[in-house]
Subunit: 408 residues, 2 copies
């Protein structure tokens, strides 16, 4: 039961010139379930990515990093669900290499021009022969209209596919952007997200594309948490096919600001969709922290609140047990925080100031503010000008049920 | 449903000479429930304490710190449940001061010789008049045999009282130790625990007592987590009444090692009892991390595993989804961790090595190792000689139920 999230309408997803997608049910973990997606990019396409900081990062993440360090030119992305190919040691890396080689042979490119993404159970061997056996079906299905099916094919515990398109007109021409993402649990991206792929048909010079990718991730996927668990496989890829009319060399290029804003809008939609579809989520919560000395401390406070099981269960219960939020602010790691300067709002209701409950606060206002499916928590740390936002969801019986059942 | 934890037998709790306890039902939050405990100490008693590092620390914690900074001489401790007197600002501090003054007047000591402890809901005004009205009943009930009742009276969401005694014979005489503790949720002590009180009848010089308190806390209450939430009210107090025959001046004093070991044993029992009685707990889990460069990184890995909702729900389900443990090790913050050197055991079963699943590992062994109510996770980081241990419990439907219902 995702919070205020509708499935995308297939017809609303715009093809991106130079990008074709094909998916199939390769039986990687379960039969008759879409689990393998090939994305073919036109010659000349450039990509950039950000990846999990987890030290037990998956074999495909290691391979992507190595390929992208070599060159930003890319001709294909292959994505499988059902197996994370993480915690799989040398055998996992070998399986990832073989997969890239098979894609390269199929498309007539080099293995270095192929990127690989896996999501699913950790520490189980990847059934690479099933993956390779599924490639011809993906290839046969390749189509510029494949976005909706691909968004379905990359789902794991997601209840809904996540996808969005946007078209903007710049002085030099039109740019079409379409993105898809997956993720519902093990969500606490650190420099990246679960899996997110955004493509546009502009040509973007590689150094600019790399910087833009980090900026977009930082304003979207790096602001969310479902359960505080940073995955082994988080990957976010920004694709610039270059087939369209627009070309950007650097931040001074015409239309850069508009394109950046549009990409952030698409990425935020996808990141928030992951939270709205968070495992067992019944509420979508925005935590806006302001008045910090730097953005890091604002974000630390936001994440302390977002990841507190006590705060999350109180949201699930719609119980304005808001002292739990104060406790989380207090242990967020700001050693010299003066709590008398901290103010806390729930929606528009001032809850706490001067180190205690606000004189104007009435329990019934707090109770009313806890009712909606979308709630905004605002914290003013009262010690500076910086701010940050974190999006999260509540913690329900269903989170426990889903994660106690996930493998069985 | 505490995990392998029986209630203490009242007759097993040994009186500590110089320490009398009296409890009553003062109606602080609910009627007819023991919620106020007075501990009276003989003249000459010395105490030391460690307290929460939460910046939103409670008014009684602030007062305790101030009193102990002034002197380690102490004549009384007052403990209430039903209200944390945290997030209560200046009014909370005033209420705490008034409480100390009332105890001082009753016992004929100074307010500085009184320590105060509160636990319960955060950010609600302390009904100080009910607390003061309950003092005469506590005073009338004072008895050296009051430990068992006190252990009951300090409970909140605890399902069982937590108490233990130990008697040791040192070259210079016998020492009797009795301790009580409470805590079941909002448990991730940082330099302290929820509430723990351990008394002995030895005389211990204040500097030694202070160092001993920190050492004992570090080997017990600072090794546990139920939900990762560091409370606003964590306090651990070590009392040396000095009424017995033994006297210790410094670490070279006869019997120091034995006394230290006995105090750690008592504190570990109480700390583990808190985890065994963790909200909704069905399993008790010891996470032993070795092979680290320093103890801090071992502890960080232990806590990353202990606090991962995904690991905790897998334990609840008895599902050997052990890749989740690798993921937690990977995001614990050791930036230069070489995962190929990491080894993971569940009980005696080697699960992972060389960055992947151990060749000898069989799923049925993992499944068998997940069944017992007590499970030991062992991690060798393979990069040093230091180690640490963390005790935790699993994450069940009941945790959500308890914390979605706590105030209602």
């Amino acid at each position: 039961m995702a919070v205020n999230l509708l499935p995308p309408v297939a017809a609303d997803l715009l093809p991106v010139a130079g990008v074709r997608l094909g998916s199939t049910a390769a039986g990687i973990r379960k039969a008759d379930r879409l689990d393998l997606t090939l994305i073919e990019l036109a010659a000349g396409s450039q990509v950039a990515g950000v990846f999990t900081q987890n030290r037990f990062c998956a074999a495909p993440v290691q391979l992507c990093r190595s390929h992208l360090a070599h060159s930003s030119a890319c001709r294909a992305l292959l994505i499988n669900t059902g197996n994370a190919n993480a915690g799989t040691g040398e055998a996992g890396l070998a399986a990832a290499r073989v997969s890239c080689e098979a894609v390269a042979a199929l498309l007539g490119c080099t293995p270095q021009e192929v990127l690989l993404f896996s999501t699913g159970v950790i520490m189980e061997p990847l059934p690479v022969e099933r993956l390779i056996a599924g490639l011809p079906a993906c290839h046969a299905a390749l189509s510029e209209d494949g976005w909706f099916t691909a968004a379905q094919a990359i789902m794991t515990t997601d209840t809904l596919p996540k996808a969005i398109s946007k078209r903007i007109v710049l002085p030099t021409g039109m740019v079409t952007i379409t993105g898809i993402a997956k993720g519902a649990g093990m969500i606490r991206p650190n420099m990246a997200t679960m899996l997110g792929f955004i493509a546009c048909d502009a040509a973007i010079a590689p150094p600019l594309l790399g910087a833009l990718t980090r900026e977009v991730a930082d304003a979207s996927f790096n602001c969310i948490s479902v359960d505080g668990d940073t995955s082994t496989n988080d990957s976010f890829i920004l694709i610039a096919s270059g087939v369209g009319k627009v070309s950007l060399a650097d931040t001074a290029s015409a239309g850069y600001g508009e394109l950046r804003a549009a990409l952030i809008e698409v990425a935020r939609h996808l990141a928030q969709a992951i939270v709205r579809d968070g495992e067992g989520a019944t509420k979508f919560i925005e935590i806006a922290v302001e008045g910090g000395r730097d953005r890091d401390e604002c974000r630390a406070v936001g994440y302390a609140i977002a990841q507190s099981p006590l705060v999350k269960t109180a949201f699930f219960a719609s119980d304005p047990n808001l002292g739990r939020i104060l406790a989380a602010i207090g242990y967020a790691g700001i050693a010299d925080l003066d709590v008398t300067g901290v103010r806390l709002w729930l929606g528009d209701t001032l809850v706490s100031e001067n180190g205690g409950r606000a004189a104007s606060y009435r329990e019934e206002d707090g109770a009313a503010a806890m009712q909606p499916a979308e709630i905004r928590v605002r914290v003013d740390l009262g010690r500076g000008q910086e701010k940050a936002v974190v999006w999260t969801c509540d913690f329900s019986y269903d989170y426990v049920r889903i994660n106690a059942d996930y493998r069985s």
